[in-house]
Symmetry: C2
Subunit: 320 residues, 2 copies
């Protein structure tokens, strides 16, 4: 979760020269920060450096990242006409730089750890396109869903197909697993999720090669777990607001789980961090199919040594 | 949930003359908007007009409400010393205006519907005191919890005792049920909730007379339901991010449930609103012990007629 990010001094140094989009579009640099995070932290997998909104840029909506803010979409997409006007996009052209970064990162990793690709989930990307940026209540998004379901369907279908081709391209370029970050689905009722999101997520995941593991992640999903599982994914990513053992029991044995330490715990004293790691490993009970992770991204103000401490604690405590 | 609020034209007219705190401190006006909402909406219970942070003001922390913003605490409380310096507060003096409003509202309601009193939950009030205002991540709050548990305990103990006396005073003044709004507990892991919140909430609720029903509410609590129940309350308030039937099953038959329509659904067309109401009533299955409500407060931009539509739909559909 945000393995390479602002909490790493080397990343900050790079970012003082390159904007976020520029960094993503420079495959050598993206591969470099991907590998750097692995070497510095000692994690068991790499995740390609990219952003969930990269796919929005070739749609011509005016994606911009301003320092210290979330992403902005300068020309939001809210009406039937605005959806219809979105240009056809071929990820092989428009997002070739991501595929190049994946090839370079694979080569630099040399098989030491597997490389994970990723994309934003259709709801989460749609919500940025509709809201024009981050949102607290997602009211514009919900308004389109409930008041203009045809526009919603048109937008979600476009995004689902584009996302499926984008992830398939990442896999063809060397990604050995992929993660779908539908980060903001936790704003929805289970009923709304099943009706307005699940069919499109299923469309994305059903289009991927069956032998590549898929991690399906969201935040605030304690009420959505069964529905997320029904949408697809070999691994369900959990945030910290659900007890891992109880969540896994609800999900059943046919899926693995990932998670779920509160990133805020990394701001606590070392003994609290170790206690938090231990509690999660105990909840997982040593069963195969648990990927230890934070419940969401590393917070920018986290001392990087604390992330290393978590990784070391996981390795040490899970070997006992 | 925010029965009297900015979505009501009469409330807005009153607020153009009186600030929020001023309105709360004018018992006649607070009782008037309480009763107005009942008459205008046709709801089955009144909830006294007040604010969960009223209790913070006599603590001398500089509570302020600026137009269009959330509440601000001008002198946040973050250290042992700052907690120790909080003055002793007697709710009978400092919050007498709430008790007066309750007496006036009871009289004006004349037994037509019961009157509910309320207070903020200890975590939620503590988070405002520590953060200094609304927060997205509650990082300062979590930092105190994890890094300075003695300060956390001192603050939560103070708030729990004050809240218990405040609610007992409301009951003595005529409140026929009380609701504890621990609105922001959903940011916590179940483990953190049980360790850092549950003991204090239990302390509040155990101090109240046993014959007055208590509604225990929070948002984003789909992973916390069992822990909230264990903290206390005759009714567990659910937000919309959990399926009501599944939640009630987890909670068991010994508690009632309240909820849980997404307030954003009230911005949808009338047929969608009715469908949303119907789905919740069906999930409740006509069993006694379900209080229909929104999952959180009415959104300020909601046309008030849509709230009335919900009330009428609940009455009509639940009589079938």
């Amino acid at each position: 979760m945000r393995q390479a990010g602002r909490y790493l001094p080397e990343y900050r140094a790079l970012r003082s020269r390159l904007g976020l989009l520029e960094l993503c579009k420079t495959p050598e640099a993206a591969a470099q920060v991907t590998v750097l995070a692995v070497e510095k932290l000692g994690v068991d997998a790499a995740i390609i450096f990219a952003d969930i909104l990269l796919l929005a840029e070739p749609l011509g909506v005016g994606l911009a990242f301003h320092r210290g803010e979330g992403p902005r979409i300068l020309r939001p997409v809210r009406t039937r006409e605005e959806v219809a006007r979105l240009p056809a996009v071929d990820p092989q052209d428009a997002l070739a730089f991501v595929f190049d970064a994946i090839r370079l990162a694979r080569r630099a990793l040399g098989g030491r750890v597997p490389l994970i690709g990723f994309a934003g989930g259709p709801f989460t990307v749609a919500s940025y396109l509709i809201e024009g940026g981050p949102s607290r209540d997602f009211l514009r998004t919900k308004k389109v869903m409930y008041s203009d379901p045809e526009t919603w369907d048109a937008l979600m279908t476009r995004l689902a197909d584009l996302t499926a081709r984008y992830l398939a391209g990442q896999i063809a370029s060397g990604a050995e697993a992929v993660q779908l970050f539908d980060s903001w689905i936790g704003c929805l009722s289970p009923h709304a999720y099943r009706r307005f999101v699940l069919p499109y997520t299923r469309r994305v995941l059903a289009a991927l090669p069956p032998d590549v593991p898929v991690i399906h992640f969201g935040t605030g999903t304690a009420g959505l777990l069964e529905a997320m599982r029904d949408a697809g994914g070999d691994v369900i990513g959990l945030d910290w607001r659900v007890e891992l053992g109880a969540a896994w029991q609800r999900l059943g044995d046919r899926v693995a789980v990932q998670g779920n330490l509160d990133p805020a715990v990394l701001l606590a004293p070392p003994e609290e961090i170790r206690a938090g790691v231990r509690a999660i490993l105990e909840a997982a009970g040593g069963r195969p199919g648990h990927i230890f992770n934070l419940g969401h991204g590393v917070l920018p103000m986290t001392p990087w040594e604390r992330v290393r401490l978590v990784v070391d604690a996981v390795h040490e405590l899970s070997q006992r």
